[in-house]
Amino acid sequence: MSRREEILKEILSDKELMEKYKISPKDLKELNILRPGSKKIVDVLYTIINENDNKRTSRQIYSTIKNIHKI
């Protein structure tokens, strides 16, 4: 598991978040949620983690998020 995935897993393991967005411990463990289009929250969060690692600016990352929401 890459560092990025570790961080993603750590943030997603938030109890409230798991309940609200219906993320099961199994999903988390197997990282099934990383399948494209599986959950919007994962897409957004993974984008933030990834793009920040790629040294993109916050303005650039926000534009990508808006694209995910199609706005």
Binding site: E6, L12, E16, L17, Y21, V44, I61, K66, H69, K70
Partner: protein
Amino acid sequence: MASIINSISFKNFFNYYGEFEDNRYDLQEGVNIIVADNGGGKSKFFNAFLWLFNNQILDSDDKSRKNIKNVYVKILSDKAKNETIIRGKVDCAIQIEYTFGNRHKYQIIKSFTLTKLNDNISDPTSWQYTMNDTEVNRTELILTKYKPIYDEDEKKKIIDRMIMPAFRKYSFFQGEEVDDIIDFGEKESIEEAVKNLTDISKYNELVELTQEFKVKAEKDLSNQNTANNKQANDLTAAIEEKKHIQEQLNHEVEKLKEWETTFSDAEKEKNYLQKTYANADKRKEIDDKIRPLNKKLKDKVAEFEDFLDRINNRFFDGNFSWIAMGFDQVVKDFRSLNDKFIDKRYKKKALMDIEESPNNYFHFLPVNSPDSVSIQNMIDNEHCYVCDRPAKEGTHEHNYLVKLKNRPTNNIEKDKSFVVNDLKYFFGNIQINAQPFYSRIPDVRNSIKLTREREQDIKRQIDQIKAKLKSLKDQRKDIFVGGEDSETSDAQILLKYEGAIKRMTGATNKIDDILRPKITRLRVQIENIENEIDSLSKTQDIPKGFKDNYELSVDIARATINAKDRVYNNMVQLLEKHANNHFKNLTVNNDLAGGILKFEKTPSDSINFVYTDSNNNTVYGSSEGFQRMKKFSVVMAIISANSTEYKYPLLADAPISAFGEGFTEGFFEASGKVFPQSIVLVKEIYKRDDEMKINDLGRRLLKDENVKTMYVNHVPEGAEQIELVTTKTKLK
């Protein structure tokens, strides 16, 4: 894959005089020990790594790190300096070989060359200095020949890989430096460690980003809001209210930051004062000098008292005979008077004897002759056959014969007194008893002079020891009371210390009782309004994407903060667990039971380090050895808590100076478990009068299978600086 130092060699580097081959230390994976007494080249050995990594050395004169180019004259061996001819060149260099993984071996050489201009060798202007390029060579492990590397970036990478700069502080330290690595009073020190061990800085970035996106999403949502209907007005009002509360929250957070700074500053001051009070290492160093001096002083004072006692004896001791001083003439007078007395006495006695028994003195016949039969014949016949003349009865001659016949058979008659008081023996005894004294009279003055000199000598020695002691005690007092600023008085320190604690308590109350609850309340209010905004926006005719964006950004921002706190706290807990394990190992050979180390968060979010006993009572003022071991435990915990194996060697110069054998032994055992390789320079196990120059602990370590190599350094005793050369014996 770890980096292992295979060898280190010196060329004319301080006391390591000569070529690389003469001063090569081969090292191995595991524990490597270099034993040396003070001045035996420990710090110089360590300086080689300072040169390698930082182009510096630690100047032992003022204990500060200096750039090589400013101290080159000090670095070059004095013997080499002396032997270099004018206009001649001499090199000073270090060479380190290390492997990383099982493929490559690297060789790094740092050097400078000096050209001698004149004979004033300790003057930097007498030398022309040339810093040579750093040589970095590489070879495949299966090959023997090194190939040079020319690319400067590659060279730097190879040097860095030996011990990465971020880890050097945990891997590379000298004596009391360990106290500064983990300065529990500094908020940054544990945080720094946690930062190095976790992705906490990544989480911080993500927290900032997600907070920013939350604000942006809210703004976007607000812009989508269509005007002129009630719900829209409510939404606007809710957003306005949130804005207002947010401002309050920001204001309170600012205040919290200010109070946290106040707390942190006060804490820093308190810890600084505490550290100054308890500058364990320096105090220990001075105490170690004071103790033998105190003993020396005691011995000298005892010697002086003994010396004074003996002075009394010298008056009557035949070897010194001071009592006889000035009696030179008296002896002569006594002798002449005694001679006269003897003369007179004998005359007197002789006269008396003659008068008493003149025949004892005036006869011509042998003693006891004529015999008694012949005398009887002569009496009977009234004739003396000796002188052949008649001795008729009644005559003087006949009477004399009768007297002769009746003479006593024993000649020894009891002495008849001839003087009223016979002083023969009195004067004789005086002469006999005075004999040892008057024979030494000429030497008495010299003996007194020598004794006086000895007295002055001992007094001077005592004064010297006292002066040394006073200076050491003053130094100790300065460390103890005023730290670096010796003019600060004891009372002032105490006042400052109490002030700092008062400020800390004040800040803690303000933060914990007022600000934090208020901030929590405001955050809950904001959260409620956010929910309201969320539900209001859902009923609005706003594209779903904007609503989702807002909702997700709020949730992600919150979850990211939580994740950051969780990671941080988990790491602190993990460190605590590891630190306790190491602490137990480090103190395993000590009689005292070690306590429990606890990491607690303070109001300023730094980690407070508490040391408790098994009943959870805080332990204060445990010995300096324990204090140092606590810090070591944390350093080791930082290394062992790392999820990946620690890849770098430990290089430590006198890390445990004078804390006792229990700690020394524990240190070697524990460091062997944490570091793939440790190179430790110690003097604790050095023993001058031992054949191998190591003490019993040294012999035990020598047998220990974790100890892979052991060297003992030697310097000639009492050598001039110019002849000072460090040599070594490899014991293992």
